[in-house]
Amino acid sequence: MAGYSEGSGRPNQWLRNLNAKIASVPMILTAVVIFLGGTIWTVVYSFTNSKLLPRLSFVGLDQYERLWDAPRWLVSVQNLAIYGIFSLIFSLVIGFVLAALMDQKIRFENTFRTIMLYPFALSFIVTGLVWQWLLNPEFGIQSVVRSLGWESFTFDPLYNSDIVIYGILIAALWQGTGLVMCLMLAGLRGIDEDIWKAARVDGIPMWKTYLFVVIPMMRGVFITTLVIIASGIVKVYDLVVAQTSGGPGIASEVPAKYVYDYMFQAQNLGQGFAASTMMLITVAIIIVPWAYLEFGGGRKRV
């Protein structure tokens, strides 16, 4: 945002608005040294064979080769993909539907909103523990249904390797949709009442109005929500630790847990750094094109 191009007769461009520039120095330093510096440091050391302590003895791409040969990393990546896609779709859809229902001028809206948002106030660890109990076949949903007389009822996602990641997904959705709903509701409230009136005059059914008029108008809200959900997905860690610690076996491992385990438990910093660099690249692949479209060339659309 350089503003207007510098005029010919202006004094030194660098001294303009000096106070503001000095005031922003700490922020710039923080961004460059801590965020960028830390990132570069991590990437550089991912090419070394650092064990418990970082040391600069380069081994080329060895850490990456080992990483992509490790079955546990592959399972982690696959889990993250499943978890990511489903939690993105479901939290957006459920969140929007809830918000749309809430927007029908119902009674006790405040109460419902609070109830829906309540899980978000809990940490992932608490959420994970709550759902670990709920999904435990001996104490949770399964035993309740069985005690009601349906003896053969089986629902133990956390103990079944094939579907364990969905058990984690359930907990994540329970926690996260409330926030999405609130964001969406705020977006819906921002839609001009006249749009609705116009749609009603034209006889457009309500669902069509939502789908083709209101949602496109809420683009900004959707993007904000998307970024919030996506960043939560990539760093998912505590939920898994609290619910399954990666089990059964390695069936519910996620990349962030791989990074932690190899950095600290296996005392192999190089391997952990390589894995976290891969996570950074994943995020960059998602963020960069989006940021380019959003802030880059062309006029702003929102």
């Binding site: 418990l52 546990r72 990666g246 089990g247 059964p248 600290f264 438990q265 296996a266 192999n268």
Partner: protein, 411 residues
């Protein structure tokens, strides 16, 4: 916040750590938190307090895998504790090499550790470049099979005397609604159980070749194939163990919900705490009843280098307290482990401990995997076996191939 209250807050932040540091308070971190373990730690604390110093307990819950990263980051981050537990072996190797740990050679020569610590391999694991860096406190051996007599009675079969009989009895146990073999979900349990099977089935030499010499050909060979076949049996028998922690799995054996468990002798503390008697309520088979060999891993205390002189003195006092004959007996009886000194009287030891002492006296010992493999290789092994035990679709052959690769890459 105005300037004055800010200044007060700042000075408080500086002053607090100073006033909290009492001259001879020593914070000791460890991961002994189960019932039997906590009782054993209390013995150490009592003995240390008797020297006039004060033991500040820094227990970290959640087993070694959770505790070690916290300990290491405190030491590397410049906030060292007075003393800390590690499994002796290679876990603290790099901390020592980078000069963060205290050299105990003086204390060790003064108290003649070289002669009193048996077997000598324990002290060897504490020695790096000729200097001694840790005080071993106990010998833990992994090679035990714990069996619930009640469970076998319920299933109507004899209590097995070795692994093969146990495998043969499994169907009867299953029929009675009992999980034959309890294996908790924590990854180290599956990996440990495999190591035990290896010693029992393939023997001492093969074990040494694979983990000591890192011989990948042996690891891929027919001897180890037999071990993987046994692990396959164990996997089938462990189906239905829906618990995570090792002591919960032990509890399944104590309550008769499971037939047996392959677990180190630390499980004994849990049996004792539950008031069970070796021989009548439960049976222990060292080396799975096949090969009576035990590994001599265990716990040791390491002492980070401290600047405070008072505390350094207290560290010396703690080091010699840990190896004091009385402390050794009191601690190890509660813990269910064997003492590191050959010259102490363990008349109060129960059947299982006596079996262990016997094997130790005969010299049928091997080094533990913590001493032979780096933490990195151990973790890879844990990943492999926790996957193997949880996922029946991995064939023993595939698992063995991956195992051989880990051994080939080990340092």
């Amino acid at each position: 916040m105005n300037l004055r209250s800010f200044a007060i807050a700042l000075s408080a932040a500086v002053a607090l750590p100073l006033s909290a540091a009492n001259a001879a308070d020593l914070e000791v971190t460890h991961w002994w938190t189960s019932g039997g373990e906590a009782a054993a730690v209390a013995e150490l604390a009592k003995a240390f307090d008797a020297t006039g110093n004060h033991w500040v307990d820094g227990a970290i819950a959640g087993s070694g895998g959770t505790a070690r990263p916290i300990m290491i980051s405190r030491i590397t981050g410049g906030d060292p504790m007075g003393a800390t537990q590690f499994n002796h072996g290679r876990q603290a190797e790099e901390l020592v090499q980078s000069g963060l740990m205290r050299d105990l050679t003086d204390v060790a020569t003064r108290e003649n550790w070289k002669d009193i610590i048996k077997p000598a391999s324990l002290l060897d694991s504490c020695t790096i470049d000729g200097k001694i860096y840790c005080a071993p406190v106990n010998i833990h051996s992994w090679q035990w099979l714990w069996l619930s007599n009640a469970a076998f009675k319920k299933a109507g079969v004899e209590v097995p005397k070795n692994w093969d009989e146990f495998v043969a009895a499994a169907p009867a146990l299953e029929k009675a609604g009992i999980v034959p073999l309890a294996v908790g979900g924590q990854p180290w349990q599956a990996a440990g159980a495999f190591d035990v099977l290896m010693v029992a089935i393939a023997g001492k030499d093969t074990f040494q070749k694979v983990f000591g010499d890192k011989d990948e050909e042996v690891a891929a060979g027919p001897e180890i194939a037999k071990v993987f076949k046994a692990a396959d049996d164990a996997r089938r028998m462990s189906k239905g163990t829906n618990v995570q922690d090792w002591n919960q799995a032990t509890n399944m054996v104590i309550t008769g919900k499971a037939g047996g468990q392959i677990m180190g002798d630390w499980a004994q503390g849990e049996f004792a705490l539950a008031g069970q008697k070796a021989g009548t309520d439960y049976t222990c088979l060292p080396g799975l009843g096949v090969n009576e060999i035990i590994s001599t891993g265990g716990d040791a205390f390491y002492f980070p280098l401290l600047k405070d002189e008072e505390k350094s003195k207290a560290q010396e006092a703690l080091a010699s307290t840990l190896l004091d004959p009385k402390t050794q007996v009191a601690f190890n009886l509660k813990k269910g482990s064997l003492p590191v000194r050959g010259d102490v009287d363990l008349a109060a030891a129960n059947d299982c401990m006596k079996k262990g002492l016997d094997i130790l006296a005969k010299g049928n010992v091997i080094q533990g995997t913590d001493q032979l493999l780096s933490a990195d290789s151990q973790k890879q092994k844990e990943d492999l076996f926790s996957e193997f035990f949880a996922n029946p679709s991995i064939t023993p052959e595939d698992a063995q191939k991956r195992f051989a690769e880990i051994i080939a890459a080990a340092e």
